[in-house]
Amino acid sequence: MTECLLNIDLGELPDEDARLYALAQVANIACGGHAGDDASMRRALELCARHGTRVCAHPSYEDREGFGRRALDVTPDVLRGQVASQCARLSRLAQEQRVPVVYAKLHGALYHAANTSPVLARAVVEGIVEALGTGVTLIAPAEGSLRDAARNAGLAHAREGFADRGTLPDGSLIPRGQPGAVLTEAAKVRENTVRLATQDTVDTVCVHGDTPGAVELAREVRATLDALSLHVEPLGDGALRLTLPDSLERRAAREVLRALPGVVDAVVTEEHACVYFDPSAPPDEPRLALARLLRETVAPPEQTLITLRVRYDGPDLEKVATRAGLSVDEVARLHAAREYSVRCVGFLPGFAYLGELDPRIVVPRLPTPRMRVPALAVGIAGGRTGVYPFASPGGWNLIGTALDFTAFHPDRGAVLQLGDRVRFERVG
């Protein structure tokens, strides 16, 4: 599935919330037809530049009084001229600010009128091409005259769905003014977004900037789309592996995934999360469970600080020192000088991957793993360090031995948890 982008109609209202520009991936900027003037367009372009939001020209019938929502009787030729001049106006201001205009989308009544009239569609597309060239992508319904006109003119076409508009059973929008036309309830909008984004029938989803509670709705839609854009791949028939964005709080992600109906277990590593389930009863889209975490900044849970006493007496200590060009004493000092955090729990019961190691003592794994590493050996490899909870095979460089530490309790499980802070205290 390709990424589905959030587009928002913007630059229309004087008291518009600037946060919408950060939430939008495509900003449809009113360019004087139904709303907007040079000042509003400049502000919108500036906000797009700041947030890396892609700019979309949003021409309309010239009808500021009716906000472009009334179908007007305008000849195709006049319409072509109106669309071209609106687009050109935005394009000129965008050039001043060195922001490219990469999309075009018709506003309101014109969007619908042109999509059912090949003649109008050809006229507006000609207007767009006249002002913006053929490099822009036309945002338009999946089917209809606009798609055909875009194809004929050599424009790319992005299929659009509306997150905040109710649909009739045949899939068409409920006309404005009728009950259920505009959705303002977050849950409904989310549901609508999931339907649109997962059926692979649209490339972009719209939220109207003037819908009541637009910021909240846009945040909901963006989080849903972001969650659905996470890379997911099967790990056999009983597990799914998700690639996590760096920003996602790991422990919260694990708990949210583990609580999903049908999920037997969830493992979070530094870059991935994996959910495990019975192949005959897979869970519903697990990525959606992460949407809430993507929407809100989740405060990391209270982080326990655990201090482990270490005697630096490992068999690889000298080799590590030689490789690092340091004394054995210096390696021990650097290892014990930092506070680490638990990046991942795995490999063996209670084993915690701790990072980041001081770059001066980063060494690769052993070329050949040892058949037996004693319990409580302290190892380093790459940017990570850890304590072997049990005697086991292992490929890390052993630099010390942890004293009086139990990494794993048969009744409670692992002592070190994702996000916990760890310090090593040098003894002996």
């Binding site: 099967p234 028939d237 590593t269 192949p279 005959s280 729990v345 063996l348 019961p349 209670g350 499980g413």
Partner: protein, 296 residues
């Protein structure tokens, strides 16, 4: 009825207590465990009226057992139960065909449950009997008998030479298409260096350019990881929960037992299936071996 005990009198090979596993503990670094060949465990347990996943003996060699406290109904790999009177002993021969065999007693082995399972996890010395391989003289508590024996036809439960089904990936970017073709087109041999942690295969090397520099990733039983030298290792029930080697493919769940049953020297060939085929195979597996019940 008096409490029962199963005494280990003699052993011709290693044996441990194993059951249906302890799912849901991987986030502690605890592998799912469970029988190497869940099908044989299920058949043995059902033959003595136990739930399919009750704790039983998983053994690589012959065993001599004795009943204590009460007569014990015993099944080996699902064959008709034998009643062993209190104080009498029973000799169980080494596995004839599969790599491993299961001895179930009515009531199941009532060793202490640890983190939701009774199976032995040797690396962490937990579960089973003192977390270790059994020794002559060990005495294992037996639970209360549950119900009537259930005969499941154990003959020809699978074809030992049929290909093992897998789903390719997920780390396809680490391997070129030739390697997938090599995996699917070659005959591998089970190495003697195989255990509950993983089964090593001998055969053509599956070269990849992955230096193993990436951070550790989540693992699953059945995942086929490929070492730097190109050797495939198929993760078993006691696999490390995370690992750094790339995964070329993953054996589907319905075939975990069929694979685990192959002894060192046996050949293995693979056949790729899609998720729908895998799911259907698993449904059939559940119907046949667990009496239609959903996996626990």
């Amino acid at each position: 009825m008096m409490a029962g005990w199963l005494e280990i009198v003699g052993m011709g090979g290693p044996a441990t207590v194993q059951d249906g596993g302890r799912p849901g503990q991987m986030h502690h670094g605890v592998p799912p465990g469970g029988a190497l060949v869940p099908e044989l465990l299920a058949l043995a347990n059902r033959a003595v009226g136990n739930a399919w996943d009750a704790a039983a003996l998983e053994c690589l060699g012959s065993l001599e057992l004795r009943a204590r406290g009460r007569p014990l109904r015993v099944s080996v790999d699902g064959r008709s139960e034998q009643v062993v009177s209190d104080g009498e002993s029973l000799r169980v021969p080494a596995p004839e065909h599969a790599s491993i065999r299961y001895v179930a007693v009515d009531g199941g082995l009532d060793v202490q449950e640890v983190l939701g399972g009774r199976g032995t996890l040797l690396v962490a010395r937990l579960g089973g009997h003192e977390g270790r391989v059994l020794r002559p003289g060990d005495s294992l508590p037996v639970g209360a008998p549950r119900g009537p024996s259930e005969q499941v036809d154990a003959e020809g439960i699978w074809d030992d030479t049929a290909p093992i089904r897998l789903m390719l990936g997920p780390d396809t970017e680490s391997f070129d298409a030739l390697m997938a073709a090599s995996l699917l087109g070659s005959t591998f041999t089970v190495s003697s260096a195989s255990d509950r942690v993983g089964m090593r295969l001998q055969g053509p090397a599956l070269a990849h350019g992955d230096e193993g520099a990436s951070t550790s990733r989540p693992m699953v039983r059945g995942a086929i990881q490929v070492t730097l030298s190109g050797e495939p290792i198929i993760l078993g029930p006691d696999h490390p929960t995370t690992g750094g080697y790339p995964l070329i493919a993953t054996v589907i769940r319905a075939d975990w037992g069929r694979l685990g049953a192959r002894r060192p020297g046996a050949t293995v060939e693979f056949h790729a299936v899609n998720p729908d085929e895998a799911r259907e195979a698993w449904r059939q597996h559940l119907r046949r071996f667990r009496g239609g019940a959903r996996a626990g």
